[in-house]
């Protein structure tokens, strides 16, 4: 069995997960990454996506996060999410609303930088929706 490390998933409202885990898959801003024990210290922003947590017991849990950042140390990993929910509790209407907001943002963007950022965010959200639909 792989070595376990401490993983914490925190949203501004509450602490969602705080447990010993084997591995965590994080949707990093520059690509997905799997974090295991003794990982080199990395700090990365995350994009909207699914975090897969494999607990020390082998049980897998999935959480949907909407942006934030992760602080990875050899001794543990802390994920500060802007908002996070368990995959089973995801509210489709809420997701649809976020996509709608993102679309409006993209349409309202004043300059190219803002527009490309908004469009990128929108694309991430739609990918996320696509990934969740069969679930």
């Amino acid at each position: 069995m792989a070595e376990a490390f401490k993983f914490e998933l925190v949203s501004p409202e509450r602490l969602l997960v705080s447990e010993q885990v084997e591995s965590v898959v994080i949707p990093g801003a520059e690509g997905e990454m799997t974090v295991m024990a003794q990982h080199a210290p990395v700090m990365t922003t995350i994009k909207p996506g699914v975090v897969t947590v494999k607990a020390a017991g082998g049980k897998e849990d999935r959480y949907v996060v909407f942006g934030g950042f992760a602080d990875i140390l050899p001794s543990g990993c802390t994920l500060l999410a802007e908002s996070a929910v368990h995959v089973n509790d995801i509210d489709r209407a809420d997701l649809a609303r976020r996509i709608q907001d993102a679309k409006e943002d993209a349409a309202d963007a004043k300059d190219d930088v803002a527009r490309s950022r908004a469009e990128q965010f929108l694309a991430q959200l739609t990918t996320l929706e696509g990934a969740l639909l069969p679930a």
């Binding site: 914490e8 700090m43 602080d71 802390t78 908002s83």
Partner: protein, 294 residues
């Protein structure tokens, strides 16, 4: 001298008031527990955020690429004050304490010839500040419709503030709220959020043994994402502390009111009984003297 009937009415009305204050106290106690839980649940996030921010500031080392939100504009001519108070009264000196702190601050700034702008969060602070500094108030954020305070509420305020900053609307932003120490003690606090107070730098030296991080994307980019979020988190924390503080203050204010009402009922009852006894004695004397006269 009030008649017996008047006294009876008074007692009945004080009793009714006592029932109301008692109920309000119990409601406040229940809400306090929930608000306290919410404040505690939010604490890990802001703590981690502070630690991460301290680390990253250290990594950048005050280099030129730190965003303006952190370093400030280099001037301190225009001050923005975010005054967070409660939406409702009947909570003792809670609102006026925050407002007084803000007012003293405003007076000092104006005396120094600075320009002051105010954003009021919550109705009560707005009502108090409007009297003296109505022309300085930019905006009033109404949270009355909000049942449970969410991060989105704080985020909306933070967005407005950052937007204003980017437009060059102000140089320094200070947040006024009440720190929740305990049920009986709330401390009105002023906290500078833009540019980020040097407190975070002190925290950075605290854990000097911080690991050398790899950053993905660049530290500057992470930082520019992090700082606005940190402002939202600070505001969120202030709002939550305020909510807990308000309920605490309301609880003790209502507890006092209930006790005062009890004292008043006791005093009134004694007066009532004395007067009743006096009347009975008077009637007896009348009867007896009437009988003797026969």
């Amino acid at each position: 001298m009030a008649s017996l009937k008047d006294l009876r009415n008074r007692i009945a009305s004080v009793k009714a008031t006592q029932k109301i204050t008692k109920a309000m106290q119990m409601v406040a106690a229940a809400k306090l527990r929930r608000a306290q839980e919410a404040a505690e649940a939010a604490r890990p996030y802001s703590e981690r955020m502070g630690a991460v921010l301290a680390n990253i500031t250290q990594a950048i080392g005050g280099g030129g690429d730190a965003p303006a939100l952190m370093t400030g504009t280099g001037r301190d001519d225009v001050h923005l004050l975010i005054v967070c108070t409660a939406e409702r009264g009947l909570c003792g000196g809670f609102n006026s304490q925050i407002a007084r702190l803000a007012r003293d601050h405003i007076r000092r700034l104006l005396a120094d010839g600075k320009q002051v702008k105010i954003i009021c969060v919550g109705k009560k602070g707005f009502d108090i500040l409007r009297r003296d500094y109505g022309s300085l108030i930019l905006e009033r954020v109404d949270l009355r419709e909000v049942k449970t305070l969410g991060f989105v509420n704080a985020d909306a305020i933070a967005r407005k503030v950052i937007h204003l900053f980017n437009e060059g609307g102000f140089d320094i932003c200070t947040l006024f709220y009440s720190q929740f120490k305990s049920v009986i003690s709330q401390i009105p606090t002023a906290q500078q959020i833009i540019p980020a107070a040097p407190a975070s730098a002190a925290a950075a030296t605290g854990n000097g043994a911080a690991a050398v991080y790899e950053y993905e994307p660049e530290p500057g980019e992470i930082l520019s994402d992090l700082i606005p979020r940190n402002i939202a988190v600070q505001i969120f924390r202030a709002l939550l502390e305020n909510a807990a503080g308000e309920m605490g203050a309301k609880m003790s204010a209502m507890d006092n009111a209930t006790r005062n009402a009890g004292d008043m009922i006791n005093r009134l009852s004694i007066t009532y009984n004395r007067q009743r006894q006096a009347q009975i004695t008077k009637e007896l004397i009348e009867i007896i003297s009437g009988a003797e006269a026969l």
